[in-house]
């Protein structure tokens, strides 16, 4: 009871309450969190592997485990096509059944032998958003691409902010020569031609998800250092830091307990916008072919496939990923707006 009372009065709780008043931001956060959480369960919702198969009195769970096609006595190598298996079971009309996910196509599976015409195919009742030029289902790819893009944006932002915050805090706290050294290093680092470097790097090594994240973190962390440094410089001159200093607290404690919690504003307010930037960056790298390598589900690749055709005949490959990207980015921008207003020390916005 008492603990709760104290929470109500904490600065962060106040900011949270203020954030909730910002309806657009609050609901955007709500929707984004739910959608992102759901996207981790996509293998259960949108997948070529059934949740449950009953065959000859035994139960199989292909979603979680790989079974060779011979298990079900269809084909000799590879995995069974469960959609066909389902139809064959229906024909037999015995106790065997296949329980497919809600949308029975996977993101990396090519449907060449099920399509009657050469892919890409237009949206249809079977493949809701059509297929791409390798015959993969676009609906599945776009949804899995949401998870990949947001995860990528969050991870790059988290690690580059972590690195940037540590560097900025040390630079601001120690000041003097340390600061001088850090700032010059940051300036040199920031002056690297960012896009070219990634393009050169990814033409030498073909980056997977984690390697691309790592490269972008290394190039991205400098941005936030300047803000954290400024904030730390301001906070460290305040009396409460001095008070803690003269009462014998260690420097580590002063930085982590006193200065950083008070310097959190730029970190929190910049984070959503950084996520937006990183998602857009991933899409553009994928579009140029220097990002995640196929067959990873990616929006940029789809758009590239759509654009590579001289006319706009493959419109669905362009419009659908763009709409998804736009919707995701605008949700996150709304969250960012909400955070920004919540961390604004002015009680009411002047333009209301």
């Amino acid at each position: 009871m008492m603990k709760q009372q104290s929470n109500i009065n904490s600065l962060f709780h106040k900011r949270w309450l203020k954030f909730r008043l910002h309806k657009r931001g609050y609901y955007s956060l709500y929707i984004t969190v739910i959608l992102y959480a759901l996207s981790f369960f996509l293998p259960l919702l949108v997948n070529k592997d059934p949740l449950l198969v009953r065959y000859d009195g035994n139960y199989y769970f292909p979603v979680f485990k790989y079974y060779s096609a011979t298990t079900f006595n269809v084909g000799s190598n590879g995995e069974a096509n469960y959609r066909k298996l389902k139809q064959s079971f229906k024909v037999k009309n015995n106790d065997d059944f296949v329980l497919m996910p809600f949308y029975p196509y996977g993101p990396t599976e090519n449907l060449l032998d099920e399509l009657n015409i050469i892919p890409p195919t237009k949206p249809s009742a079977v493949n809701w958003f059509g297929t791409d030029d390798r015959g993969r289902d676009v609906f599945a790819r776009v949804l899995y691409g949401f998870n990949v893009s947001v995860s990528f944006g969050l991870l790059v932002t988290f690690f580059s902010f972590l690195l940037g915050t540590i560097a900025g805090a040390l630079s601001g706290f120690y000041g003097g020569k340390t600061d001088m050294f850090f700032q010059r290093a940051v300036e040199v680092w920031a002056a690297l031609p960012f896009l070219y470097l990634i393009i050169i790097l990814s033409s030498i090594i073909t980056p997977g998800f984690s390697l691309l994240t790592f490269i972008l973190v290394l190039l991205n962390w400098v941005g936030i250092t300047l803000y954290v440094r400024g904030e730390v410089l301001r906070e460290k001159s305040k009396e409460y830091v001095f008070a803690s200093y003269v009462s014998g607290s260690s420097k580590f404690r002063i930085i982590t307990k006193h200065i950083l919690p008070n310097s959190i504003s730029p970190i929190v307010t910049f984070a959503p916008f950084a996520v937006v930037g990183n998602i857009a960056l991933l899409v553009s790298l994928d579009f140029l072919g220097f990002g995640l390598q196929p067959p990873t589900a990616s929006w940029g690749q789809l758009i590239q496939q759509g654009m590579s055709y001289p006319t706009l005949d493959r419109w669905w490959l362009i419009i659908i990923p763009l709409v998804f990207q736009f919707a995701t980015l605008i949700l996150i921008v709304f969250i960012g707006e909400g955070f920004r207003d919540a961390f604004d020390s002015k009680q009411y916005s002047r333009l209301k």
Partner: protein
């Protein structure tokens, strides 16, 4: 009486560049100050802004911001040990544990994102071998004794939920949390209004009576407060001590013209035109101090010698020191 703190020939200088000539100039913020603090006393340090009171206090705790400022020479003995020789970890064991420091600024002296409990406990757990729970209990008791009602509940509150006076009580509780022997209070009541000021200062007296705290250095520019709360008083001007004596003695028979000026300037003494007395002129800039006595260009009792030689600090009466040419060694008694 036993000395708890002894400052010997302390010189703390600040180094800056002159705007025009771009030459380095030395500001002697504290110039050859020697001062003793005895056990069981409140020592007042009085002076105008820029007289070196705060720099003296910060030198004791080694808080001078380097590289612009530096303790050039001098020794500060705390319980017989030269604490200026301590650095790093060793120094941290003294700060807060042996000598505590509280500030003038009440509104920013507490961290806005931590509860009062967390902040007081931090001091206790840093210096004393206590768990957080034990520390929390001690903190609540401490706040209670600082005159905060419902301390057990209010300790979970955040700084913005307290008034200025309350915050200064909390700051005081924080300073006393690790049971220091010496408290340096740097204008602790300047930001508060007069009624709160009195309450806080009365609190000082009661703490000194009850606690392990033995001595207080009380820095202020208000001679009225000094006369009520201090045992001894040092008057500082331009980085030097001009007069030290027991409080009653200083109030009754001030010797230095500057001390006299300060006393006359208090609101209760009016001259024949019913105007409050003011000391002519302004505090001199440390960049252009006069040769000779530092007070000579504002003094009303100057002789020619005042402009040439700086007078030494001499003991005119027992335990009454003054730095002024009006008095000579052979005048004693």
């Amino acid at each position: 009486m036993k000395k708890i703190l002894q400052i010997l020939n302390l010189k703390t200088y600040f180094f800056t560049a002159d705007e025009k000539s771009n030459k380095e100039i030395v500001l002697k913020a504290v110039d050859d100050v020697s001062l003793d603090v005895y056990e069981d006393e409140i020592l007042g340090i009085v002076g105008e802004s820029g007289s070196g009171k705060t720099v003296t206090a910060q030198s004791i705790m080694q808080l001078i911001p380097e590289p612009s400022g530096k303790i050039v020479s001098g020794e500060i003995f705390y319980k017989g040990e030269d604490i200026l020789k301590r650095h790093g970890e060793e120094l941290r064991k003294i700060r807060g544990k042996e000598i505590a420091y509280i500030f003038q600024e009440t509104y920013s002296s507490l961290n806005p994102v931590l509860t009062i409990e967390e902040q007081i406990c931090e001091v206790i757990t840093t210096h004393l071998d206590k768990s957080y729970e034990e520390a929390a209990e001690i903190s609540a008791g401490l706040l209670e004794s600082m005159g905060i009602k419902d301390a057990a509940d209010r300790i979970k509150d955040y700084p913005h939920q307290f008034s200025g006076g309350m915050r200064q009580r909390i700051a005081l509780a924080m300073a006393l949390a690790a049971k220091p022997a010496l408290l340096i209070a740097d204008e602790p009541t300047t930001m508060l209004d007069v009624t709160i000021q009195k309450q806080i200062l009365d609190l000082f007296l009661s703490i000194k009576k009850n606690k392990t705290l033995t001595s207080v250095i009380f820095i202020t520019h208000n001679l009225g407060l000094v006369s009520k709360y201090c045992d001894r008083v040092a008057v500082m001007y331009a980085g030097k001590i001009q007069e030290i004596s027991a409080v009653e003695e200083l109030i009754k028979s001030p010797l230095h013209p500057y001390t006299k000026g300060l006393l006359y300037a208090s609101a209760f003494v009016k001259d024949k035109d019913n105007k409050v007395y003011t000391i002519p002129g302004n505090t001199p800039s440390l960049k252009e101090l006069p040769q000779g006595c530092k007070f000579c260009n504002r003094c009303t009792e100057t002789t020619d010698n005042c402009f040439i030689d700086e007078p030494p600090l001499i003991e005119i009466k027992p335990n009454h020191f003054v730095r002024c040419h009006l008095y000579r060694e052979d005048d004693i008694k």
